[in-house]
Amino acid sequence: MKKLLTGNEAIALAVKLCRVDLVAAYPITPQTPIYEKLAQWEAEGVLGGVMVRVESEHSAMATCISAAMTGLRVFTASSSQGIALMHEMLHFAAGNRVPVVMACVNRALAIPWAFGSDQIDTLSQRDTGWIQFYCEDAQEALDTVIEAYRVSESTMLPSMVVIDGFFTSHLMEPVDVPLQEEVDAFLPRPSFPSRFDFQRPAFLSNVVGPKDYFRFRHRQFLDMKTAKRVVAEVDRAFRETFGRGYGVVEQLYTEDADLVLVTSGALTGTARVVVERLRQKGEKVGLLKVKLFRPFPKEEVRQALKGKKKVGVVDRNVSMGCGGIFCEEVKAALYGVDEGPKVANYITGLGGLDVPPELVEAMIEDLEQREVFEEPIWIGAI
């Protein structure tokens, strides 16, 4: 059944469809409507689970972690400063191997204070050990939340489902909402073990020596690697059930393209339009959308970009002193590839700056003519 939904509403609806047992969250723009929607449903008695009002995002995550340790399906959502405050607990969640699913609505980090979309809040959490999905639109956000629970609960790794603030979170799109029975069939009740056994008292999250530390970290790394395969399998199963799927990356006209634009998040929708238009004009342009950022789909990226002349990676984020973060990851994936493409990096859209089709076209024009690829290219309003 199709409904007109904002990205935030789509996520809230997915949480309800997933029969989440516990939601612990703290309001922050632009994520707040998710929280509000869930609270409204709780008040109406249709949410199913409970909402825990906490005093901070740090506590929200701590609550989710401990609830998940008892075997519950949990959810939280945050943005920007909230995610930054949560940082310590993000490590705890991953290290404790709890299948928490969190929706992150990208928003610029202060300072300067700003509210628009900017991926730096979630990309700053790159190394916390969380699976990260970057979604293009409301439909994908809804679907990815459902997928994320299945992925997390089978890998015992937490997931972030990321959308762009305002562009996706606040704009309405027609969304195909799956039926509850279908979701129930796709995502059964969680069956991961509770860690609390009164018959066998034990200490969780205890101190370990360096050898054990090394061992657990290695195991976590291997499990994260495996998670990529799990994501792909879950997505395939989702496609079989619901007729939609996304892959860990999506390729558009890449096969015979000379130039390929690499995008993530809401920007992809705009790039899609531009690439289609240029293709109609006969230009050999392709698009690679990176959906899964952690674990990074190295092989898939390499496969898609191998043999291309030029690649332009569009980043709505920047790592100071280096460049766009997606670009760095793409470059690292291409390292050692024979006759690898030249890679240009377009830093754009920071702080919610609009990236209209004309700007994307300008990037492609620039890429066609570009000879020097060392430094990231800052391309803003034209």
């Binding site: 015992m156 066998r200 008292p201 034990a202 200490f203 969780l204 205890n206 657990f216 976590q220």
Partner: protein
């Protein structure tokens, strides 16, 4: 996926880590004295009494009261209750009504004082059977002495019988209290008047003599007209009520103490239609009398006027009025005496009857020569010893503030002092063993090591005070309806019921005594509180965080190290 492969889980116990050894700080279980007990001149173990009452054990509570006080039913009515002013609960909600509970225990409980364990063939005489004499005789008897009491009147009780009116302390109650003491075997000799020489004679026959004859002579003002017909003194008015040929229409009582209040209230009862006024130099609200008595007097339509001192009694043969001047009270820093400084202003009150209540003094003839100092006051040390070997003074003769409980206290102290002297011991040492905190009270339970006397006063810490449930709706004892009050001498305060007393006792924090509430045990983050008859901390694991110290509502934990 096996959980233990992906996350650390320790099934080892942390018992291995003797974390307490890492810290020099330790919690130490230390019971203390409650501030109310410290404030009690007779050293009543109030928290323990309250603890019994909460469980409805009135007999046990009375037995405990009788260990330190021969007349709990009297104190439960007329004591000025310094204990209540020291209550740790005072600034939480309301102080505990300790006196009312004591009264309920004395009225509802059944117990007899414990008989002496052994008898000594030593005779001690007590002259005067007021509260001080009764107390001295009681404790001397409990110590095994053969005690003989000499009383000039036909009945025991002194001021309790002849000074305090029926509506505050019914004679039946006093009788009951005195009856309780009979099995102890104290010999009473009534209607024996002894002068100074008579007392010296007693010293030859008895190993020690306690002189506790009190203050029975009124202090005269020396004012013009004081000899007029219609001018009386409070002590006479209360002890030997004169018969009047006609009821006065106006009564003026001079003085601000309890005697003045009682003189006025007795007048109200005797002359229901008279205008009765109390006039004192102190400002209203600063009268030395007990506030409850004063407010009851006001209820009984007695006018209270502060800030005036009498100048003259007017009348021809019979009193017609009293002239006052306005004064303010000033305490002289050096002597501690109160001075009345005229501030200008005269007031004349119509009065057909004036009762002067300006304090009492003693009859010099009743005290052996040589015992009095240059200023005419008895020379006495803090153990009641006088310049005559074997002669001890107790009660109002020695007190700075003549009250029933101070009299009981001084009798008790004298008993112990005599005991020390007869044993050839230093009273200093004996008293230090049974002293309760820094107060006047000494504990007879503390003698022979039977009961540990404690020095430190319990003060619950701030956290514990936050944990205490506030109770504002506290039981109030019933009182006689006003109409019945002013037309009869029936007791005004009808006392608490059994359930009221229990309810009130439950508010007692039981300061200084462990009641095994287990708050320390539950709050200890190291499970280092070891329960038992006496709780203690497990030195292997207690690292002295002090949480037990902070949360204990009874302040029985201390941090050491």
């Amino acid at each position: 996926m096996e959980l233990k492969d992906i996350v650390p889980v320790s099934e080892e116990s942390t018992v291995f880590f003797k974390t307490g050894r890492w810290s020099p700080y330790k919690a130490a279980f230390e019971e203390k004295i409650s501030p109310c007990t410290e404030a009690c001149p007779v050293g009543t173990d109030i928290p323990e009494v309250m603890w019994y009452v909460t469980q409805g054990l009135f007999d046990e509570a009375l037995a405990l009261l009788l260990e330190e006080n021969p007349l709990p039913g009297v104190c439960g009515r007329v004591c000025f209750h310094p204990c209540q002013g020291a209550c740790n609960r005072l600034d939480l909600d309301k102080g505990l009504k300790i006196r009312e509970v004591e009264r309920a225990v004395a009225d509802l409980g059944k117990a007899l004082p414990q008989a002496p364990v052994s008898f000594r063939d030593v005779k001690v005489a007590v002259v005067g059977s007021g509260p001080a004499g009764i107390s001295a005789a009681y404790f001397l008897r409990k110590l095994g002495y053969s005690v003989e009491v000499f009383e000039r009147k036909g009945q025991a009780g002194g001021m309790l019988r002849f000074g305090i009116p029926e509506y505050r302390l019914p004679k039946a109650v006093l009788e009951r209290e005195l009856q309780r003491l009979i099995p102890l075997g104290i010999r009473f000799n009534f209607e024996v008047s002894l002068d100074g020489q008579g007392i010296e004679r007693l010293l030859g026959e008895y190993a020690a003599v306690v002189l506790s004859t009190g203050l029975w002579s009124p202090r005269r003002l020396g004012l013009k007209g004081e000899g007029l017909k219609g001018v009386y003194y409070g002590i006479h008015w209360l002890s030997e009520p004169p018969k009047l040929d006609q009821a006065p229409r106006s009564v003026v009582v001079i003085g601000g103490g309890d005697v003045a209040v009682d003189a006025a209230r007795v007048s109200r009862r005797r002359f229901p239609h008279a205008v009765v006024k109390i006039v004192a130099p102190e400002q209203e609200g600063e009268f030395p009398a007990l506030p409850e008595g004063l407010s009851e007097a006001v209820e009984e339509e007695i006018e209270v006027i502060g800030g005036f001192k009498p100048l003259e009694f007017r009348g021809d043969d019979r009193l017609k009025g009293v002239v006052f001047e306005r004064v303010r009270v000033q305490k002289e820093e050096l002597s501690g005496q109160y001075l009345f400084i005229p501030v200008g202003g005269i007031m004349e009150l119509e009065a057909e009857l004036a009762i002067i209540c300006a304090g009492q003094t003693f009859d010099k003839r009743s005290i052996p020569e040589g015992v009095l100092g240059e200023k005419g006051r008895p020379l006495v040390d803090r153990y009641g010893r006088t310049t005559l070997r074997g002669l001890y003074l107790a009660g109002d003769l020695t007190a700075s503030r003549p009250t029933v409980v101070e009299a009981l206290s001084s009798g008790k102290r004298v008993a112990l002092a005599i005991h020390a002297e007869l044993l050839g011991e230093d009273p200093e040492v004996l008293f230090s063993e049974v002293r309760l905190g820094e107060g006047k009270g000494i504990s007879f339970r503390g003698l022979n090591g039977k009961h540990k006397t404690l020095r430190k006063v319990a003060r619950p810490k701030e956290t514990a005070r936050l944990l205490v449930e506030r109770v504002w709706d506290t039981p109030e004892p019933k009182r006689l309806p006003l109409g019945e009050r002013i037309s009869t001498f029936l007791e005004v305060n009808l006392g608490m019921s059994e359930s009221q007393a229990m309810e009130e006792a439950k508010r007692c924090l039981v300061c200084g005594k462990c009641v095994k509430c287990d708050l320390c045990f539950l709050c200890c983050p190291d499970l280092a509180v070891i329960k038992g008859e006496r709780y203690r901390s497990d030195e292997d694991y207690c690292k002295g965080c002090g949480i037990c110290v902070e949360v204990c509502p009874r302040n029985v934990w201390e941090l050491e190290g």
